[in-house]
């Protein structure tokens, strides 16, 4: 009994149960879900698809977790920033043309441009939130509205294609490696961030600032700087995610690239058992949350639910999961049980 309690009180218990629940659904509904086949030296299967498709979301969720932890607010501009950095990358590589069959600039320049755009956008958000003390959602609302507008300005409202095989590698496969490239990018981002947080005191600092920025300031932490850095880091993550998104379809559509990604990223953080109020956080929880969302989406596709209707099921599952994680419901349930217990005793 004690052991059971120890397991259930483990922080990642609920997020993991949610993921397991979604996967279990598949065992019953579509037994072929876990089958992995090898085609042309490359792995295929629903599971691989989940891990592959979730990569951008994982990367965004990592950035979002830090932002939420340090400032108690959300960055709703990540989707728009991804689109913007993707647009800049394609614009640089296509040399301003609408469709390019070869690079007009070195590949690395495009990557650097995208990352730089992400960093600048993140720094702008960070400046508004940390220095100007504006509520995070309002501050990031600016780039949320402007991001796609600027991206369209750059692409002139058109799609830009970069039809170069090398460009597709980031979003698909590198010759001779059986797993899709985005998976590795996501793993690298997660590992590097974890290292940064665990091997330095940065993780602790972020939590401290998130719990009480003023107190953190009084014990000598530069809370403004720490919040600023988390937003800049989140911008960097958006830039990387934008690169993967554009590489997957070797083009940029400023209107639709990364659409609603910010919502999924915030959802991933919440599903990971993190409080959106800031403070203590679990990066791995968010990553699990991101995979849960993608697993759910892929599951619904596998059950041949039309793409338009997926949000309905997603919403229902999300409400169930967050309700279960709500301490308030636990209390209500306990009260209810007590009342019944009292009734029995009286009888």
């Amino acid at each position: 009994m004690n052991k059971l309690k120890k397991i259930t009180s483990y922080r990642l218990f609920l997020p993991l149960v949610c993921l397991a629940f979604v996967l279990l659904l598949n065992v019953i509904k579509t037994p072929s879900f876990f089958r992995i086949s090898v085609n042309n030296g490359v792995l295929y299967g629903y599971i691989i698809d989940v891990i592959n498709r979730a990569s951008e979301l994982v990367i965004l969720a990592v950035g979002m977790t830090l932002v939420v932890a340090a400032s108690g607010g959300t960055d709703i501009s990540v989707g728009a920033v991804s689109a913007l950095s993707g647009a800049v990358c394609c614009y640089v590589l296509a040399g301003g043309e609408q469709s390019a069959n070869e690079y007009h600039a070195p590949y690395i320049l495009g990557v650097l441009a995208a990352v730089a755009v992400g960093l600048i956008c993140g720094a702008w958000n960070g400046f508004l939130v940390a220095k100007m003390k504006i509520q995070p959602m309002v501050a990031t609302l600016i780039l949320f509205t402007a991001g796609r507008g600027i991206a369209q300005l750059i692409t002139d409202g058109q799609m830009i294609y970069v039809r170069v095989d090398h460009f597709k590698q980031l979003g698909a496969f590198i010759e001779g490696i059986p797993l899709p490239t985005p998976v590795f990018v996501a793993i690298i981002v997660v590992l590097l961030t974890l290292l940064l947080l665990k091997k330095t005191a940065l993780g602790l600092y972020i939590e401290t600032v998130g719990i009480n920025a003023k107190a953190a300031r009084l014990v000598g932490l530069n809370s403004v700087m720490i919040q600023f850095l988390t937003y800049t880091f989140c911008g960097l993550c958006s830039g990387i995610a934008g690169l993967i998104i554009t590489s997957r379809v070797y083009s940029i559509d400023a209107n639709n690239a990364g659409l609603n990604m910010e919502l999924d990223a915030i959802l991933a953080v919440a599903l990971g058992g993190n409080s959106l109020g800031g403070g203590k956080f679990s990066l791995i929880g968010s990553v699990i949350g991101a995979y849960t969302i993608q697993a759910l989406t892929t599951t619904l596709y596998a059950m041949s639910v039309p793409a338009d209707q997926i949000p309905v099921y997603k919403a229902i599952v999300v409400v169930i999961i967050v309700s279960l994680q709500s301490p308030e419901l636990m209390r209500m349930w306990k009260n209810f049980k007590n009342r019944i217990g009292v009734g029995k005793k009286v009888a």
């Binding site: 300005l153 949000p311 409400v319």
Partner: protein, 339 residues
């Protein structure tokens, strides 16, 4: 003079700047587009006609923001309402009035569920209404993925009834006097605005909304029923979202899945430009009206100009948002220092 200026507190100051900005923008429009009849009263009334739904949504959003919450499901609820109205009237042959009653009821139920999750289970409003957003948009496509145009006579008669103003007309080329007009949707939207304004300002409920948003803990200690107040706000918000959807539908007379996308952010932007703080407790529905009108004016500019692309609307609104947000923050920190 200086004392008088000081008396105008920060929040009213923001509201005044919003109104002033609107007036200045309009005057600039009058000067720039002088030869394109920008000065006609009809152009001004069109601002209300094309934004009637958004005004109602922004008003209800303001109320939610006042409690310190947020509702990002409104855009999807508007789409669902339009689709349901169109589907019930065209595919099921229902009358306009029963269809309207049903969608309003659905809005109330929607608000009730969201409100319960937010106030009683204490789940973050953002997450709950995010789920609501997914749900409503998905339901819209479940009803129909095709666009449905409304041909119900009664509904169209509501939509197209022109109410002429007795003044402000001009003589057209044929020599007849043409008076400016509004649609019933405008009058309904303004009625909602006035009712909510009065409720927030003069009723017990309205004051408790401000109290809850200002400081939940103190509101609770003061003996206010915080949970019930929040629940009521979300129920009203659900109702108004459906009602706003109805007004929106009067404008478009159709239902399709992609309708009113990004409406929630436009409403939030309108409220913020109008001086509402997202932390709750501070704000005014009149400001939100002007926030929406400013957005409408920018769109009118771009229409009149003719060569500018639509994305300039987004960029300009974002620039304005940045301006107002930074102004708010500067004012707030100035206030801190004075203490």
């Amino acid at each position: 003079m200086k004392n008088k200026l000081k008396k105008i507190e920060g929040n009213q100051f923001l509201l005044m700047i919003t109104i002033l900005l609107f007036v200045v923008m309009y005057v600039i429009g009058l000067i720039v587009f002088k030869d394109k009849n920008f000065g006609r009263l009809q152009v001004f009334l069109n601002l209300f006609i094309s934004n009637a739904g958004l005004i109602v949504i922004a008003v209800s959003m303001t109320m939610v923001l006042l409690t310190g919450g947020i509702d990002i499901s409104v855009g999807s609820v508007v789409a669902m309402t339009c689709m349901l109205l169109a589907w019930m009237m065209e595919n099921k042959g229902m009358g306009a009035i029963p269809a309207l009653i049903i969608v309003l009821l659905i809005g109330v139920v929607f608000g009730l569920v969201q409100g319960f999750l937010i106030s009683y289970l204490k789940i973050q409003p953002f997450i709950v209404t995010l789920a609501g957003m997914f749900f409503a948009r998905g339901m819209t496509s479940m009803i129909s993925t095709e666009m449905i145009s409304i041909k119900n006579e009664m509904f169209l008669s509501w939509a197209q009834a022109k109410i002429y103003l007795p003044f402000g007309g001009y003589v057209n080329k044929k020599g007849t006097m043409i008076y400016p007009y509004v649609y019933p949707s405008v009058i309904m939207a303004l009625a909602v605005l006035i009712i909510v304004f009065i409720v927030l300002k003069y009723t017990k409920f309205g004051r408790s909304v401000y109290a809850v948003g200002g400081n939940e803990q103190s509101a609770l200690l003061m003996g206010l029923n915080v949970k019930r107040t929040k629940l009521k706000v979300y129920v009203i918000d659900g109702f108004l979202a459906a009602f706003g959807g109805f007004l929106f539908c009067l404008n478009t007379c159709s239902g399709f899945v992609e309708q009113a996308k990004g409406f929630e952010m436009e409403a939030i932007a309108g409220a913020v430009i109008g001086g509402t703080l997202l932390t709750g407790g501070v704000g005014n529905v009149i400001g939100s009206l002007f926030g929406v009108l400013i957005k409408g004016t920018i769109e009118t500019f771009i229409n009149f100009q003719g060569t500018l692309s639509s994305w300039w609307t987004k960029i300009t609104i974002a620039a304005l948002l940045a301006f107002f947000i930074i102004l708010q923050s500067v004012l707030a920190s100035a206030k801190e220092k004075r203490k």
